[in-house]
Amino acid sequence: MKYLSEYRDGEVARGLIQRIRRAATRPWVLMEVCGGQTHTIVRQGLTELLGGAVEMIHGPGCPVCVTPLEQIDKALRLAADSNVIFTSFGDMLRVPGSECDLLQVRARGGQVRVVYSPLDALDLAVKHPDKQVVFFAVGFETTAPANAMAVWRARQLGIRNFSMLVSHVTVPPAMEAILSAPDNRVQGFLAAGHVCTVMGWTEYEPIAERYRVPIIVTGFEPLDILEGMLLAVRQLEEGRHEVENQYLRAVRRQGTPAARELVSRVFRLVDRKWRGIGEIPGSGLALREEFADFDAEYRFGLEAMQVSEPVECRAGDVLKGRLKPVQCPAFGKVCTPEHPLGAPMVSSEGACAAYYNYGRFRGESAEMAAP
């Protein structure tokens, strides 16, 4: 298939792997930022092919994984309201809140619907004027423009029964939080290609400079990721720390100005909690004052709701690359994909779920792997 098969070619991949292994004089520690990249790495079994030349730490860029418990609990409360049709992207449905998940709320009679675009949620609001339709706006800068568009349209069309539970996060502050931690091991980043399609990469230039790390704007197919790794390894070997663009076919330095413009007119920067990590200053997007009518937290009076996370889940240490999933005491015991404690065990992009499967494949039982 065009634009897919070309980037999954086995022979080219083997060539790139050889070049990475030849280029690396020592093992380098890289972090892929985006969950979509993690997915490709795990799905294609890339790590084992690299033979230790590169250690990949799976970054915090899975929107499912980092959405804070508090927002999940707010979603659960809204979804249980008989007056609400709660709409969400599919993979949020199984994320555990404090008590249950959205699938269980649906089984108890809550109206929870999977949509593929926030504009579909807006259509539902038009079709069901007697209901309140709430869209769960999660994700990074990639999903922000479409969500901004939905709110913009709702205001334009005067649709009063539509609102969004916003839990948007932004990438650069999270990268800074990781780099400034005293026990940071990350030496270079594969930045999230689609985030940069929207935002460009000017924000990353000061980060590369300040922390002296190479940042490679990278796509999502196997060859994209291998090429991104090669560019990062070369920079590290040569002592450079620049922002480089691997994802030439989709990303420009300025991103997509129209999308950025819309995002900044609808959203404002706020401090935001990340699941397992805690609050990161200036790392979230919330609706601007003039769009407060479309803010579900405001409309349903949820602003004051506060929830603390279970202490036994070490998702934060995993997301920061401090702890391998198998080193977590809960891993494979009280926390499995069937009964996840934290989000990295839920999402197919999550590091814990990936390790759970990988460990089983290697013939280690989950019990043996845990200390």
Partner: protein, 354 residues
Amino acid sequence: MREQPGAPGTLICPAPHPAADRIQLGHGSGGKLSAALLRDRFLPLLGNEVLCQGGDAAVVPAGPGQIAVSTDTFVVQPIEFPGGNIGSLAVHGTLNDVAMMGGRPQYLTAGFILEEGLRFEVLDRVVEAMARSAREAGVQVIAGDTKVVERGKADGLYINTTGVGLIEPEFRPAPDRARPGDQVLLSGPIGRHGMAIMAAREGLAFETEISSDSACLVPLVEALRSAIGDDVRVLRDPTRGGVASALNEIAVASGVGVELEERAIPVPGPVLAACEMLGLDPLYVANEGVLLAIVPAARAAAALAALHSHPLGSRSVFIGRVVAQHRGLVSLSTTIGGSRVVDTLPGDQLPRIC
């Protein structure tokens, strides 16, 4: 003659109107409307000597040996979809299950739950498709039942079918018979049924030309049986949960590992495109017209030739092998040479955000 309700100069008739174009609660009353429903809409299409006897139970010959029995209930939405409808699916799905255990399907029963308000034209198309599918499979519908529920209590109609097949002792494929060294065969491209249903469902913002692969697999099983007989160790139709879940079940039941070659697994372009867009893995998407066969390596070529001899199996391929390592697990060699575990999912596949 009954007076037309509401016609000028007549009284309004409170009795259900028999000439209506849709199912009414009265069709489930057991009275005249029920009899008419059976007489006008089911028996002309599905009727045969046994069914038309109208007794409380069908009495049929069953031979001296064992029988294979399978039951399945169909609640698919939408009722009609590209490549079939709930009627053809209810026949194929159940008969295929009987065939996968080595049963030669002979009989079928059908239970219908009809929702008040279901249009007769829809019901007729469904029953026609059932009749056609059963005829093609050489199977008689020997018992049936209809119930009517109030509007809102069902999605149009649900069908339960039970299939009965005769077992011949010299042909006993079973999920626990896979052995290391065996080859895994797949009879056609995967993912069509699941993606056709998903695309046809309301709310999906893309259009595709994917049609369901729903088909009766009995001829393919017959071809395998006459080619290599009981060397057909395992047969499975990878329906819900797809190829991945079916092979995981076999790996567990047989206590073996399965190794798949990603590049060997045929996925139609439109299915792949839809899966990429939604973040789904075609290995977990439902099929209704392909089978997996596990056979000893020495008989693999003969088995493949047998599958190729029927149009339904013309695109059959080897997709992997059975190994003694990683027992109970399925692994996949990826197109770029890596490997990963193909696990069973905890629930339905959920479309990803990014």
